[in-house]
Amino acid sequence: MGEDLRMTGPAVELRGVSKAFAGIRALTDVSFDVRPGEVHALLGENGAGKSTLIKIMAGLHQPDTGEILVNGTARRFASPRDAHAAGIATVHQELLLFPELTVAENIFLGRAPKTSLGTLDWTAMRRRARELLDILDCRELDIDMKVASLSVANRQRIEIARALAQDARVVIMDEPTAALAEADVQRLMDIVRKLRASGVSIVYVSHRMPEIFALADRVTVLRDGNLIGTMDIAAVDESRLVAMMVGRAVDKLYPARQGQSGATALELRNVSYRTVIRDISFDLRHGEILGLAGLVGSGRTETALTIFGITPATAGEILIDGKPVAITSPEAARDLGIAYVPEDRGSQGLIRAQTIADNVALANLRRLTRGFLMDAGKVLAEAKKAIEKFGIRARGPEQIVRQLSGGNQQKVVLGKWLATNPRILIMDEPTRGIDVGAKAEIHLLMRKLAAEGMAILMISSELPEVLGMSDRVLVMNSGRIVAAFDKAAATPEAVGAAMTHSAASRSAA
């Protein structure tokens, strides 16, 4: 059937679509089409309107003007059900899962296999879930586990499995690799290729250029809700795409280091948390960026949580500026000058129902007071400062964070923590889901902070980022630090090997 459709035109087409939220234009007169059996990349800065476009195709939003055509006929998607019926499946940016239900059920909810009696067929459901996850190479993932206990990456996989389970003709993926480590990205890209080969169309959103060039047939760029253009991938190169996205040229090289490492800011001696992380020892100096690499579940986040006092160490010693400290809670950590930008901004980083100002004030409540009372002036000033410093795209400090795009939300988290004037900054996936422009800004900022003497511990699943930004690299595997590299020794091969081999060579830390 793929053959016929390829002749007859686009599988899905959007014509002149506009959408505004409470007066803010998210999309203006955008036309977009997906051909059968192609991978169509959708690019744009944070807040450019990618997710909005996708939600319209998924039936979650209704366009204000414009129309949607499926196989050439105009359709109205009043709800996601209509989109499913039209053969469109979506992997959303904020993972839309059911935490208390099992993996298998999450994959099949809403279209579970039925028995001849019309009741749900759990056996078939669990079997097919297993098959789908095996296709995705997630053999270790237990289908009877509740999703609540899974990592972000594993949840992402479930979302993808769910889209696969729909046998859709168009699969939309909104930043599917944002939460994935390198190896998983490769697996996902294989799956995308397999799907394309079977005639499925894919709309693919990512901020990662290499993926775009490796996968896409065509690419569409949005900027500020406007369509900038749609091109064959062969007709563009990276700098051209970036220029289209940001409207200017961006230096995509990682900024060079300025200044030298100073005294030791943070030192861990044989720190363990239950059996989750064991015998972690390393030191972090002022003025350096220490990269922490590892696979999903290797314990990097847990290490950060222990340093930050969420899961206080059960053994070992933590020293700050050479003095042993007891970090029993996040507030203790904060008062010791530690800031932590968490990996899951939706649930850990932000209060999305509150304003930017409220969020920025959150970690600084005691400082933003006059006497016993909050000082509204100071709160606003702090928020304005953050908006300017990070170029947060917002109407102002009083905008509700929920209304911001993913990348801009992340900048609010950064703003909140830098407002505490920390001396040690832990950044867990600091640029996850952040566009090239903003990403470069954040990298530049990290460098600047380091040059000013900030000690930065960066956790990232993007190997190029780890290698590009870190002055030293630590590699974690199964809850332990298994390798440490100087900048010169940190080659992709060496770090990758340490990440994946459980009995990796243990060079001195």
Partner: protein
């Protein structure tokens, strides 16, 4: 159950593991009941007499039945604090119809339909107008309670036809209320596990936005689950009305708290998305057992409520500790 036992082990965890993992709280409650029977039975064997067991089960069956609907409602992320008043109103309507000479099936059916209709209305306000269910039902609590007294003046209903007294009928020596409790629990459990609508209730309670994205219609699901809750409240009301020769025509005191407590102790998460109807029925039985056991153990009635409170705390804490270990 039969279907899943057929599933081969390598697909997921072992069946036993899954069972214990999935029914932790139910097992805790069941063991509490068993322990209670063993201990109290050892102290006073009359506790285990068939008449006493019959009384424990039959006398509180209506609470278990109401708790089934409440559990579904809580799983969907909502709550109904007016259920006690509703049961009072339903019982009064049933009794009034029965003594007014309507056919008995009318006296049984109309109040149940009333319960469904009222709750579907509440559900519509909750789902489409986005008013939190606790607010609407707090309002309904006042309306039903005040309305009932205004309408009846608290006049007791007596002299109901014998055929109407369905809760008192017996089969093989066991009161019909017990059959209602057991059969409805099993049906509801199967419904919740093996129908698309049942799973939609879990989904909507777990994550409303995700449910919408998965192609469900959360609003319709919410109205549906409220209507279902109305159905169970209706049946509970009929059992309640036909248990004794008189109907008090007032709102049974604290019934809503008892019903909600049964659901909650049965393992339904007040945050929505988890729980089973088997748990709530077991919890309702546990309460009935405790009430009876306290009398048997000569616990001074003054301390009854304190003991009940402690039992609830103990059950919940046991569950919390268990969960912490599992995680």
């Amino acid at each position: 159950m039969t279907a899943s036992t057929a599933a081969a082990a390598p697909i997921g965890r072992s069946n036993l593991q899954r069972f214990v993992g999935g029914y932790g709280q139910e097992i805790v409650v069941l063991l509490s009941i068993v322990a209670l029977f063993v201990v109290v039975g050892a102290i006073n064997p009359r506790f285990l007499s068939d008449t006493n067991i019959n009384s424990i089960f039959a006398g509180n069956a209506y609470i278990a039945v109401a708790a089934i609907g409440m559990t579904m409602l809580i799983i969907s992320g909502h709550i109904d604090v007016s259920v006690g008043s509703l049961i009072g109103v339903i019982a009064t309507i049933a009794g009034t119809l029965a003594v007014s000479g309507y056919p008995i099936w009318v006296a049984w059916l109309v109040p149940i339909l009333f319960g469904i209709a009222v709750n579907a209305g509440v559900g519509a306000l909750v789902a489409y107008m986005r008013i939190p269910s606790i607010v609407v039902t707090l309002g309904m609590l006042s309306i039903l309670k005040g309305g009932l007294i205004s309408a009846t003046g608290g006049e007791w209903i007596t002299d109901m036809p014998p055929g109407f007294m369905i809760a008192q009928m017996r089969l093989f020596g066991i009161p019909s209320a017990v059959y209602f409790m057991v059969i409805l629990t099993i049906l509801a459990a199967l419904f919740m596990r093996y129908t698309a609508f049942g799973r939609a209730i879990y989904a909507v309670g777990g994550n409303m936005e995700a449910a919408r994205a998965a192609g469900l219609n959360p609003e319709r699901t919410v109205v549906g689950v409220f209507a279902l809750h109305g159905l169970f409240a209706g049946i509970a009301g009929i059992l309640f009305a036909t248990q004794l020769q008189v109907i008090q025509s007032t709102v049974p005191p604290n019934l809503e708290l008892t019903v909600i407590t049964a659901s909650v102790i049965g393992g339904v998460s007040i945050l929505g998305g988890t729980g089973t109807v088997i748990g709530s029925t077991l919890a309702a039985i546990l309460f009935a057992c405790i009430g009876s056991a306290l009398i048997f153990l000569n616990v001074s009635a003054y301390w009854l409520r304190a003991v009940l409170g402690l039992m609830i705390l103990a059950t919940v804490l046991a569950d919390m500790i268990r969960r912490r270990r599992v995680l």
